[in-house]
């Protein structure tokens, strides 16, 4: 009763057919396909955002309270308690730390979500096909709403303290984009590693909390001793992103080399992350 015969197997692939077969080595990125699925990306982002605001009792208020409380703690402990100063006498420490915190929180949340997206989305991965890259990207984009809310809070705080934003505020989106790409670059690596090694999820929070202390959120980078320590900090892409954000919004010192080195590192990590993700992608549905 078997229909197909040996001749079928030898026939060349006809036109218009998509072929699924075992791929070896590195796969093509096929970013075009991700673009074709942009509506799914939008819906996943929207779902994350709306579920978060629906589930939390405090809803939107949570996005306000969290950075404000952290900023207050930082101001009390580090500024009043330990004497950490803002780099510019005209800039209150509260604004200094909160501006750094905003970028940091966006990075932190986006990267964590991206890192967990495959394990968390295993229900989708095993049941339906879509380019898997959509998942980490939506993990990173979903945080933008929280960021915007906190950004408004920061503007209010600045207004209350009599700090006017400078005209370079128009460049703020560039540094948000850099933060987004940093979160995505690391998130891609971590999400794929998370699938291969399930205990990687415990590594991520540790890594993040360490990274925050080597990013200039709480203290300005010029308070560090010059020389190799500052060089080491320049390797952290968040140093450039946070510095750039403060430059654009508050007219603080231009981060210069920190920004260029950081951006270069992000681009390398991102390219590597994309290829690594694509390489591991084929086993996702079998492993998660």
């Amino acid at each position: 009763m078997r229909k197909a015969d040996a001749n079928t197997a030898r026939t060349a692939v006809d036109e218009g057919f998509v072929v699924y077969e075992h791929r070896r080595g590195w796969a093509a990125l096929n970013l075009r396909e991700v673009w074709d699925y942009r509506e799914l990306l939008w819906f996943l982002t929207w779902r994350d955002v709306s579920i978060r605001y629906k589930q939390a009792v405090l809803g939107v208020a949570w996005a306000v309270i969290q950075p404000v409380l952290t900023m207050l703690v930082f101001t009390l402990v580090f500024n009043r308690g330990l004497g950490v100063k803002s780099p510019d006498p005209a800039l209150p420490y509260a604004v200094f730390s909160m501006s750094g915190l905003l970028i940091w929180n966006y990075f932190n949340a986006g990267m964590s979500r991206a890192a967990n997206c495959l394990v968390g989305g295993s229900h989708l991965i095993t049941k339906v096909y879509f380019p898997r890259l959509v998942l980490p990207i939506s993990g990173v984009t979903a945080g933008i709403v929280d960021f915007l809310i906190a950004f408004v809070v920061l503007l209010v705080l600045m207004g209350a303290l009599g700090i006017a934003p400078v005209w370079t505020i128009v460049f703020v989106p560039l540094f948000v984009l850099l933060t987004m790409l940093t979160a995505l670059a690391l998130g891609l690596w971590l999400s794929a590693l998370n699938v291969l090694y399930r205990d990687f999820q415990y590594v991520v929070p540790i890594f993040l909390s360490l990274l925050m202390f080597v990013s200039p959120v709480i203290y300005p980078i010029d308070q560090l001793p010059e020389g190799w320590i500052q060089t080491l900090f320049s390797l952290n892409p968040m140093t450039g992103a946070i510095g750039g954000f403060r430059w654009a919004l508050l007219g603080q010192a231009w981060p210069g080399d920190y920004l260029w080195i950081g951006t270069a590192i992000v681009l390398v990590l991102l390219a590597g992350g994309l290829f690594f993700f694509k390489r591991i992608e084929r086993v996702f549905a079998d492993v998660v």
Binding site: A4, D14, H22, L124, Y129
Partner: protein
């Protein structure tokens, strides 16, 4: 080579590695420990195999060609590779060898409600689910009213689905799926959910898809549905394609082949619903002589014995065993659980055990039957469910002493009846 081929597989195979390194190296910690340990082990036990793993071919040497507009049923026992085939064709997983060639837009429906979220409203879930299944926003907007009408739950569109009954949930989920318009529709056992009336509605909708020239591949245990919807069926067994031809012929080949198997089964690797944890380990039908029996005489007791143990060290309170009898022709016909008979197993807490259920003299007509088993705990919390866990055949017997039996048209139960006639 004709132009109207919609889908073709060439020597398609899918291998899973079970037990060996791939599974063990699931955590970084283990990997690091092994990296250190392994060379030492090698030195200490030079001849020992470095790892033991079993290559399991879920599919192998599948050559299949399906033309546009064909409706093909894929049948076979649990674990025969049906779902794996759909996963490969849906591009969810990659074949290990061979290839699949597909022409046209593929819509796959491996479960109802993929991506549904309980906090979102019916309206929001329609949009989300539609996007996941590949509908564009414009499509969703255009079909929205149809989808809502098909589901028949207009009033609850703005209610979070967590407040839906399970029936409503399934109707909504299926309604979205039914409005996909792919060239090739791949459907896994999704009709097993929902009430009979709604199932019929779904089957109609699928029939429509077929008559509009769409290619449909349908995996199902529901033989009546396969027989009604499909002209052609393929039978998989142990990952191989063993029969391909007119649906009714292949179905009867399948039902014959099941005669001696299915009386006892290892349930651990069988497919389950997503919420189920693999508690159920083995099941068997015990015949009158105490051995596993796949053939019973009419009127014999059907004794089902199930063992279970905790998949993750957790325990279950007051375990409840559900046993359901499913007719290969007509679907589910009867069921019972240990709580409703008042014989709830009186273990306040347990992580393993076995339960035996004796169904006394079920009045089943000759034919093929399957058994679904489920395990639950106190307060109706379900732990596990395996559909089609066992199968058995009821043999013909001379029930009424007349040599006559009710034919298939009479259903699945025989009746012990007495007729009194009076001439007036």
């Amino acid at each position: 080579m004709s132009d109207d081929v919609a889908l073709r597989t060439v020597d398609l195979g899918k291998m899973y590695r079970i037990g060996g390194e791939q599974e063990q190296y699931r955590t970084l910690r283990d990997t690091l420990v092994k990296m250190v340990k392994k060379p030492i082990e090698r030195i200490r036990h030079p001849g020992a195999a470095s790892h033991v793993s079993v290559d399991l071919w879920a599919l192998r040497h599948i050559d299949l060609e399906i033309r546009e507009g064909e409706v093909v049923g894929i049948i076979g026992r649990n674990g025969s590779g049906k779902s794996t085939l759909l996963k490969v064709l849906s591009h969810i997983t990659e074949p290990t060898e061979g290839r699949a060639e597909i022409r046209g837009k593929v819509g796959s429906l491996l479960e109802v409600g993929t991506g549904f979220h309980k906090e979102l409203t019916g309206r929001e879930n329609i949009q989300m689910n539609g996007a996941i299944l590949g509908l564009s926003r414009a499509d969703i907007r255009r079909k929205f009213d149809d989808i809502v009408a098909f589901a028949g739950i207009e009033k609850f569109m703005d209610t979070p689905v967590k407040r839906y009954s399970s029936g409503m949930y399934v109707r909504l989920a299926f309604a979205v799926a039914a409005h996909l318009e792919p060239d090739i529709l791949l459907v896994d056992e999704v009709l097993a959910v929902g009430d009979a009336e709604f199932q019929a509605k779904c089957l109609n909708k699928m029939g429509e898809a077929a008559s509009s020239g769409r290619t449909v591949l349908l995996v199902s245990h529901n033989m009546p549905a396969v027989s009604n919807l499909c002209q052609r069926a393929v039978l998989l067994d142990g990952g191989r394609l063993v029969a391909d031809g007119p649906a009714d012929e292949v179905i009867s080949t399948y039902l014959q082949s099941g005669r001696h198997e299915g009386a006892s089964a290892d349930l651990s690797a069988l497919p389950r619903p997503h919420w189920a944890r693999p508690w159920l380990k083995t099941a068997r039908i015990v015949g009158p002589d105490g051995h596993a029996a796949g053939e019973l005489h009419m009127g014999d007791d059907v004794t089902v014995e199930v063992t279970f143990s905790s998949p993750d060290g957790s325990s279950i309170r007051y375990p409840v065993l559900v046993v359901e009898i499913v007719s290969a022709r007509l679907g589910r016909v009867a069921g019972v659980n240990s709580a409703m008979t008042g014989e709830s197993v009186d273990w306040p807490e347990t992580s393993r055990g076995s339960i035996r259920c004796r169904i006394k003299r079920p009045p089943l007509l000759p034919g093929e039957y399957m058994i679904d088993v489920a395990l639950g705990g106190a307060s109706k919390t379900w732990a596990d469910l395996v559909r089609g866990a066992l199968s058995f055949k009821v043999l013909e017997g001379d029930l009424y002493g007349t040599g006559q039996l009710p034919g298939p048209g009479y259903g699945v139960f025989y009746l012990d009846a007495a007729f009194d006639a009076a001439m007036e």
